[in-house]
């Protein structure tokens, strides 16, 4: 019997309402016991001293671009899951915009096979909403469900045709799959490059208005209410979207939502400015869709994450190569590498007093699991919790440790972050997946 005992950390397990000093004992890859001094009861074990640290269920990311197959130059399942481990994530849901896209059983099975072989943490595949992500015909949701997808999404693009979106929501109810929509009306964003506002005006870049997101959020909520389908709204970025989601949830619509760490912490000023407003730059590493917005949006998103109107933090980890970013702004690929900075960025909310630590941990563990109904689906028992029998997935955190972002040190192939050189506060000290240490900064002490 392989046993790992994590001693004396502050254990926060929001699913069970636990928050206190305890030991976590993992036997044969599954949580065996959690409680004060439980570790002392086991005789033969690998032991980690977590004194002064926070011990939580491994994070669950609903929105990860692993890029494989098709874009292995940007990321692979191996490097993406290594980045996940460094970020405290033990479960990542792999987005469907690969090449080929995830619209067939064969494609899904190939990802699962590769994840089994080279993945460092758990990979749950997401299938396409429409065939080829072309927005014209439904992808075979039943076949995809049978192959093991946890949701459907054409992320990167919105399903634009309202009739097709209606049918996607309707059809997916048969398999209980959430339809995760990238809400931005392509007809309204056109070739917009960043948030429409005063920074875009200064830079002479075409804007993507907040309303391009909000009109689709409103439309798709109406379609979810019409069909009874489960609408999941990806990377909510505006205060207006928050208000729409709040109202929909109050009416009992089956709507869930996620927010990305960068939308909680960074504004459109990242794109154009450094220390002052005198000179500008065109910072392609801050180009992302939906775009970085304004302070009022950040405030609304933080409040919504605290209250639960937004169910989960999801990284939208979108690695790109240097050639995709060191290029004219209009041509640069949108997206940020995020898995390895997610926890530290989100800790800013705790340090700013906008959310308490247990609530943040909830939104990164059981929150996303419940949002997609994985807690009631067969095969995911205990995911996002430290309940006995749950997967032995743990993140060990130091909420106050400061570190400087060095993209060269990322496990991800994607070095595309606007945070390079910035000091962040909040460190993933170690990550345990299935009872094995998959990330270790050297700060945990084996006893």
């Amino acid at each position: 019997m392989a046993t790992l005992a994590i001693h004396n950390g502050r254990v926060i397990d929001p699913a069970l309402g636990r928050d206190g000093i305890a030991d976590v004992v993992i036997v044969d890859g599954r949580i065996a016991r959690v409680g004060p001094n439980e570790g002392d009861m086991v005789v033969e074990a690998e032991r980690i001293d977590a004194t002064g640290l926070v011990v939580v269920p491994g994070f669950v990311d609903l929105h990860t671009h692993l890029r494989e197959p098709g874009f292995e130059g940007k990321e692979t399942i191996r490097t993406g899951t290594a980045a996940a481990a460094r970020g405290g994530y033990t479960t990542v849901c792999a987005m469907a915009n690969t090449r080929p896209p995830m619209d067939s059983r064969a494609a899904i099975e190939s990802v699962l096979r590769e994840a089994e072989k080279s993945g460092i943490v758990r990979v749950l595949p997401i299938g396409c909403i429409t065939r080829g992500r072309e927005g014209a015909e439904l992808a075979p949701a039943g076949e995809l469900a049978g192959a093991g997808v946890v949701a459907l999404s054409d992320d990167g693009d919105a399903v634009s045709d309202p009739s097709l979106m209606r049918h996607a929501l309707e059809y997916a109810t048969r398999w209980g799959l959430p339809v995760a929509q990238h809400c931005e009306d392509p007809a309204l964003v056109r070739d917009g490059q960043m948030h429409e506002g005063w920074v875009a005006t200064r830079l002479g870049l075409r804007g993507r208005p907040a309303s391009a997101e909000e009109t689709f959020v409103a439309r798709d909520i109406a379609l979810a209410e019409l069909t009874g389908g489960h609408l999941h709204i990806c990377h909510v970025s505006t205060a207006g979207s928050v208000a729409l989601i709040a109202a929909a949830k109050a009416r009992g619509a089956h709507v869930t939502a996620e927010v990305a760490p960068h939308h909680l912490t960074l504004t459109h000023e990242e794109v154009g400015f450094g220390d002052d407003y005198r000179s500008i730059h065109y910072h392609t590493n801050a180009k992302v869709n939906p775009p970085l917005r304004e302070e009022v949006d950040i405030a609304a998103l933080r409040a919504a994450l605290r209250s639960g109107i937004i169910d989960a933090v999801a990284t939208d980890h979108a690695p790109h190569g240097q050639g995709d970013k060191e290029i004219e702004f209009d041509l640069a690929a949108p997206g940020l590498t995020m898995l390895e900075t997610s926890f530290a960025l989100c800790m800013k909310l705790v340090h700013d007093g906008d959310i308490d630590l247990p609530t943040l941990i909830e939104r990164m563990t059981i929150g996303p699991v419940r949002a997609w109904g994985l807690d009631i689906r067969a095969g995911f028992d205990g995911l996002g919790t430290l309940a006995p029998g749950a997967p032995g997935d743990v993140a060990i955190l130091d909420p106050n440790a400061e570190w400087t972002v060095d993209p060269a040190a990322f496990a991800s192939k994607g070095k595309n972050t606007p945070l390079a050189g910035r000091m962040l506060r909040g460190l993933v000290v170690a990550t345990v997946f299935g009872g094995a240490l998959v990330h270790d900064t050297g700060r945990v002490v084996a006893l």
């Binding site: 429409e196 506002g197 005063w198 920074v199 875009a200 005006t201 200064r202 830079l203 002479g204 870049l205 075409r206 804007g207 000023e269 400015f273 407003y277 005198r278 000179s279 500008i280 730059h281 065109y282 304004e294 302070e295 050639g323 060191e326 290029i327 004219e328 702004f329 209009d330 041509l331």
Partner: protein, 339 residues
């Protein structure tokens, strides 16, 4: 015995000049603008000579790298370089071929490897000149980047206005047209407000950019855009104007759904003799060109007595001479002998 009195060349080392690239006017201090305008005066003098050629930039290589069609700006830079004795080559290429092939950064580095000293760049995408400047130590001159900036046009506008009305402080300068997509308007706003002019921008609501009204941005970002007055009604805008500048209207704006028709645009926003009656009696009329007469400007007005449009073109060469010279870092402006 002839006393050889060595005549020290008159130094033209500028009082204030800190730029190694010219990307926009947003980071120009007033003293630097003055440096350019003062030197442009001397260049204009050279340009007006019978044989307009001095060897000030002998051995200096200027590459005009134009990713977007342009006649006047390209010719203006070519002439500016040639008058000063620089070697000038022009490369015109379409953005689409570049997308497929060599990257902007590669092209700029290649030009530098061939010993280009200055690269004058015109590009359809905002920020292209900034990208180039980050990746080469050749001097980059932004000759227009998408809808963003056209600093040399703004400097020639400032020079031309100054020639006529002197001190710009408190003078009302009105720009009419497609403000949202105009790199000329953006750069002019910086330059004009730096020199103390009251700047009014006027156009239909669909062609006015967001965030320009001071209330549209947070108070900490007040200085992030130049302070301008926004008008959608042309008569109110022109009222009391010292300078009226009409901007080119691209016909794509109609197809893009931003305007009902060019006809309607001309009804409400064309700069006409009738409308100019509201301006000051000795107002100036400007246009960055190329003009669509009968759309944004009435033909009679374009060639009327207030028009200084042709002068803008001539001054453009002088201002670009001054800029090339300043960027070269050279400090003597010889050439008295060629007079």
């Amino acid at each position: 015995m002839t006393a050889e009195t060595p005549t020290r060349p008159r130094s033209t080392r500028p009082a204030a000049w800190r730029h190694t690239d010219i990307l926009d006017l947003d980071d120009f201090d007033v003293d630097e603008i003055e440096t350019v305008l003062t030197l442009a005066d001397r260049m204009r003098e050279v340009l007006d000579r019978r044989i307009a050629r001095v060897p000030a930039l002998r051995g200096y290589t200027v590459v005009n790298l134009f990713y977007e069609p342009s006649t006047r700006t390209r010719a203006s830079f070519e002439l500016a370089g040639k008058v000063l004795g620089a070697d000038v080559i022009t490369i015109t290429t379409s953005t689409s071929s570049v997308v497929k092939g060599e990257s902007l950064i590669d092209t700029v580095r290649t030009m530098r490897a061939m010993r280009a000293d200055a690269i004058v760049m015109r590009h359809s995408m905002a920020g292209a000149a900034y990208l180039a400047a980050e990746h080469t130590d050749a001097a980059i001159i932004n000759a227009g980047d998408g809808s963003h900036a056209h600093p040399t046009q703004a400097l020639l506008d400032l020079y031309t206005i100054r020639k006529h009305i002197g001190d710009l402080r408190g003078k009302r300068v009105v720009m009419v047209g497609d403000i949202a997509h105009s790199r000329v308007a953006r750069s002019d706003m910086w330059g004009l407000t730096a020199l103390g002019a009251e700047v009014v921008v006027c156009g239909p609501p669909t062609l006015l950019p967001r965030g320009l009204r001071p209330g549209d941005r947070p108070s900490h970002a007040e200085s992030a855009l130049p302070p301008v007055i926004i008008e959608t009604e042309i008569d109110r805008a022109i009222e009391g104007a010292d300078v009226v500048m009409a901007l080119r209207l691209q016909s794509e704006r109609q197809q893009g759904g931003l305007l009902p028709s060019l006809h309607e645009y001309s009804q409400f926003y064309q700069v006409t003799a009738e409308r100019l009656k509201r301006a000051k009696p000795h107002h100036l009329l400007m246009h960055p060109g190329p003009k669509n007469e009968g759309v944004e400007i009435a033909a009679t007005v374009a060639s009327g007595s207030a028009s200084i449009i042709e002068e803008q073109v001539t001054n453009g060469v002088a201002v670009r001479m001054a800029l090339l010279y300043l960027l070269s870092g050279r400090t003597d402006l010889p050439g008295e002998e060629t007079r």
